[in-house]
Symmetry: C2
Subunit: 686 residues, 2 copies
């Protein structure tokens, strides 16, 4: 159980520092400085052949000279020396080695070769290797601050509910700083660098096991081990620990930049979205978004819904909040106006957003008077207070006390937005989540609500990738047959190889019919003019299609005679195997512009029909599914059931099907039918 | 010329304060405090019947007792007393009265009646009225700080290049504060409150005339006088003064909140976008966005393009910047790598984003070495520097000097992003625009570039609204004829009232044809089954359509026999008269889901074909217009020319045409044709 060993990384009994420096502001000196400053209680062994003492501690010439086997070793020497140090650690039985120095895998072939030698030494002895090219570890609960970042010198470490695990050292510091600015303490700050061995996911799992952590923030440029990350995330879900992650390298340019940075692998970004959602990991777009809701998480808020109440002493803020809520689709709670009417000035707005008006200056009780009306109303779920103006003459301390008491009494997630730091400060002191910008406060509240809904979902199994294989295209009739076998409703049809079969099929199906020439060698029938929609003479058309396939040089797999489906909305449903994440199901707008317009979402099976319906409601064409211009709503439930079956089938096929493309699926007022299908498979008879 | 009189508001020779208070922290006391603190040089006349002296100045019992006619009067008394004060000001010949007190139009009918009495008194004597319910005026160049906001007490006013004109007093303070936090001085801060008379647009015009202003920020919840705002904006464009505006009340909820706030009128929000773009006003979404680029504007940057260079000492920041640029469609400049290669470490990325790596810590010259390679390269237009880590050991002062020297030497708009205020501070001192968040720095740079492109466009005439009228629907043949007359290419067709005309039409047009039953009473032909696309027997179809119109009880205006157009991409083109903004042209995705999917943009005529093409490129279906899946690109130029003609025609029709709906316009590889049209008009023979 390798990740269990990482407990040694977070709370080792003893630490050796290879390349320990007497200068506390060098890479080899800073861990020593920090270990002592932050109260590490185990034994510290500086290793430095040139000195008898380092920063007042007895130094040892070599690892072999230590009086005991250190549980953790920090390697702060460079190049081949680092390789030898790692080999020595492995030989001596060190549990975890943290290699801080750079100049390895990130620099090119020669560096990678050195890195691989370190890795081999570690693997050979069962030692775990963190780095190289990493800033190190920091656990402020145990004082294990084996880290060379300058930030813990500038910004005194304070134990708290937040943990940070980051591939990038620079980013771990930036994130740390942003969390601390929110008035929160941070327990863990770990950076994994080149990840020759230990990944963000593994360290995340170790941190999840720490019961003092109430929020885990991750930064990564590649998801190297989805199974490990899924396991960490499910362990976190099991103990109701939210994870927010920043996965950079979203776009082609970002992936190019990432590959020059930490050698990250390219992954289709929407699969990452699907993977995170499946495992209740909230995805942030940048470091500010990553930490935005930290104070709300740290207070343990798990709102049951996302209905917002916005209160301000500025009418303009109320207008802008209403705009923003509508634009983002955030529902405003309907707070009963009679109660508000009795406390607010006659000209105040008693709708939500609630404008307590400038009268707040003269009457500081106004705020406390309004809050119970909000707290006692069942619809209120999230409360944002905007105080764009609250300087001299305003009793801001009282407002902060009032809001803190309100939050405590009613348990509603609450946030304060004010541009003035002096206004935010008393609220922060009272434990309220504070923001400079009103929309950031609203975003954070809604995020915590939506994330709580993900966390309430049942545990999801880890993704299951299948070994790569060569796939061949099934002809359409075989494709439809396979899907029908999997429980997917397909258009009624017959495969006809002979004229008499066409006659029989038409008799059985009735007019009108659609004919499609079928050849395993010609997957794209429309472009090849093998689809006939307006068929007057089916037999003549059969012969034309057979000739056409011959002209194109394809194998004749017959002609499909299909019932012509009534008009429905055309969606697309697909699936493929991702090398890392295994089966992935796509739901989206149908038609030939799927790739150009990219109006689709991905899901990782198994998933529920409700999740499919959620995904559909995020499509740009979602309004059309609800029925517009007098058209009936589409039976999205039928489509969702079909998508669930396809996802389940992809799992059951265990890698035998590489891709499925059902485009279109016609979705009717009642029911849905696969009209066209293309399956790539092996191990099925064609 | 009423707005000229507002010079009196910004630099009056004398000021009376009606309701002057000895307490400098009351509404009637604070203007006195500020006028003296901020060096107002004119005469100040406190008016207060109860005191001989106010804040050490001689007080007068009534306006009539003053030794001269004050140029400006501040009214700080309430209710009927305020009305009487305004009447007295008007009678005495005061030029501008600023009514600070609330309790008027914003409170309901009774308050509105009082407000109207003030307005009548002002109009009667030619006096301009600012407010009521307004925070007042502040001009730190002349010391005219006739304002009761607390903010100028908390945050010392400093004259500078920025001006703020806001409907909302609270928001004027919040915006002021945000600008000051950017290290910039502010010259003007004016709030207009209820706008019984003077609007944001008029005060904006007065501020534009101040040559010391280099950036004008506006906040409003309604555009009450588009013509005045257009005039102010064009005066600003003429002297290269950028205006950034926050127009709240974007959505239905926001407009409801606004109407309870300042009685703002509802305007379709996309018209506001079009209006702003036409007059080179940049639109911001919230106060933070409003001030985001202020420092770049204040330095006079007008970039010629939006190609970005991003430089950081964090690889992670480079990855995230590349992601963000690609996601927003911001091009990255191609900086030649040979030059970078010679100064950067071997393992550094020499692509843009440029990762100078952690080596910057040991070698602070690295930054200065990289900059010339960026500055001397022709593609570089915008430069963002991200320093997520730059604490102890980093020579941040040197970096700030280097970037300031670079900006000065090469004239490239440059910005610094760093989460640590201590890192931002030296850059801000050196005059660099600084940001906490990297994407905000990038947004601000791109905004200034895009805004500069708008400012370089030629002046646009003000919008021209036409008086409301009753319009009737033209039948389709008449609609097409009117459009053809306006120079719009329409599908070749004949209106046939008799069988023999159908035969002639078919002979002339050749097969295939489309038939459409034409009735002024039945505008929606498809729903009424009056469109026949697959016509085998045109004469029979003619009779069927005539019967059908009869069954529906419509007037028979003939049957259109039209050439069947080849397949093209279907766009929509429309126009209507807006009560406030006059003619508005819509370009968008065609088909029946225009309203449901809202994939369209609005333009105010006259506009150029290039502007139409810009609008099309912002549509979601834009990729399809460029040609996908082997399809040719669409002739967007032909469509754009058609849109320009429609816009020009709407102006020439001078209100006689109320609405035009051309859906679809078929756009081919070459050319475009209006296939269906519906015109609402009066004063045309039907």
């Amino acid at each position: 159980m390798p990740s269990g060993m990482l407990e040694s990384a977070l709370d080792p009994a003893s630490i050796a520092i290879v390349g320990a420096s007497d200068n506390p502001h060098k890479v080899g000196g800073r861990p020593l400085l920090y270990l002592r400053r932050y109260g590490y209680r185990g034994a510290i062994y500086p290793v430095n052949p040139a000195r008898r003492e380092v920063q007042g501690l007895r130094a040892f010439p070599a690892l072999a000279d230590l009086p005991e086997v250190p549980e953790l070793a920090v390697v702060a020497v460079a190049g081949d020396e680092a390789v030898h140090a790692v080999e020595a650690c492995a030989a001596r039985g060190v549990k975890v080695a943290v290699v801080m120095t750079s100049g390895f895998g990130e620099t090119g072939e020669a560096g990678l070769a050195k890195q691989n030698r370190m890795l081999a030494a570690a693997k050979g002895s069962g030692m775990r290797l963190i780095g190289p090219n990493c800033q190190g570890l920091a656990n402020f609960a145990t004082g294990t601050v084996a880290n060379f970042s300058t930030i813990f010198h500038e910004l005194e470490g304070t134990d708290g509910p937040v943990a940070i695990v980051s591939q990038s050292g620079a980013n771990s510091q930036a994130i740390y700083q942003l969390v601390r600015e929110k008035g929160l303490g941070v327990r863990h700050v770990h950076a994994t660098g080149n990840e020759a061995d230990v990944t963000v996911a593994e360290l995340a799992a170790a941190v999840v096991a720490d019961p003092g952590v109430r929020l885990l923030l991750l930064y990564m440029e590649a998801i190297k081990d989805p199974v490990a990350l899924a396991a960490a995330a499910e362990a976190a879900r099991a103990r109701d620990l939210p994870i927010v992650a920043l996965k950079a390298g979203r776009t082609a340019s970002g992936q190019r930049a990432a590959s020059s940075h930490t050698g990250a692998l390219a992954t289709e970004d929407r699969i990452v979205d699907a993977f995170f959602e499946r495992h209740a990991i909230w995805r942030a777009a940048d470091p500010h978004e990553l930490v935005g809701a930290a104070a709300l998480y740290a207070r343990g808020h798990r709102p049951l819904g996302r209905r917002l109440v916005f209160i301000s002493n500025s009418g303009a803020s109320c207008v802008m909040a209403a705009d923003y809520a509508e634009q983002r689709g955030i529902p405003l709670a309907q707070v009963p106006s009679d109660r508000l009417r009795s406390v607010l000035p006659a000209f105040a707005s008693v709708d939500n957003p609630i404008d307590v008006t400038g009268a707040l200056l003269g009457n500081p009780k106004l705020f406390a008077d309004v809050l119970p009306a909000v707290g006692e109303h069942a619809q209120s779920e999230l409360v944002a207070v905007g105080l764009p103006v609250a300087g001299t003459g305003y009793d801001v301390e009282a407002f902060a006390r009032d809001l803190a008491a309100f939050e405590k009494r009613y348990g509603l997630a609450s946030a304060l937005a004010a541009p003035q730091p002096s206004v935010r400060e008393p609220f922060m002191r009272a434990g309220i989540a504070t923001f400079g910008r009103e929309r950031e406060a609203i975003d954070a509240l809604v995020q915590v609500a939506d994330h709580a809904a993900l966390l309430r979902r049942p545990a999801a199994p880890p993704p299951r990738a299948f070994p790569p294989a060569e796939y061949g295209t099934l002809d359409e009739a075989a494709s439809l047959a396979l899907l029908a076998q999997a429980g997917i409703a397909v258009i009624e049809h017959r495969r006809c190889r002979h004229e008499h079969e066409v006659v029989d099929a038409c008799r059985q199906l009735g007019a009108p019919v659609v004919l499609k020439g079928c050849s395993r060698d010609i997957p794209h029938k429309s472009e090849a003019r093998l689809v006939s929609l307006d068929v007057q003479d089916p037999v003549a058309e059969f012969h034309r299609l057979r000739r056409r396939i011959g002209e194109l040089g394809g194998w004749f797999d017959g002609v499909i005679v299909a019932r012509k489906a009534p008009k429905g909305r055309e969606l697309a449903l697909g699936a493929r195997l991702d090398a890392q994440f295994g089966p992935v199901v796509m739901v989206g707008d149908g038609g030939i512009y799927l790739e150009a317009l990219r109006d689709f979402r991905l899901l990782l099976p198994p998933f529920t029909a409700a999740q499919v319906i959620d995904s559909l409601s995020a499509l740009r064409i979602a309004p059309l599914l609800r029925g517009v211009r007098g058209e009936p709503a589409c039976d999205v439930a039928a489509f969702a059931a079909m998508a669930v079956r396809l996802g389940d089938a992809m799992l059951q096929w265990q890698g035998r099907v590489g891709a499925v493309d059902i485009n279109p699926v016609a979705v009717f007022e009642t029911g849905a039918l696969a009209l066209d299908a293309l399956v790539e498979s092996y191990n099925f008879s064609r």
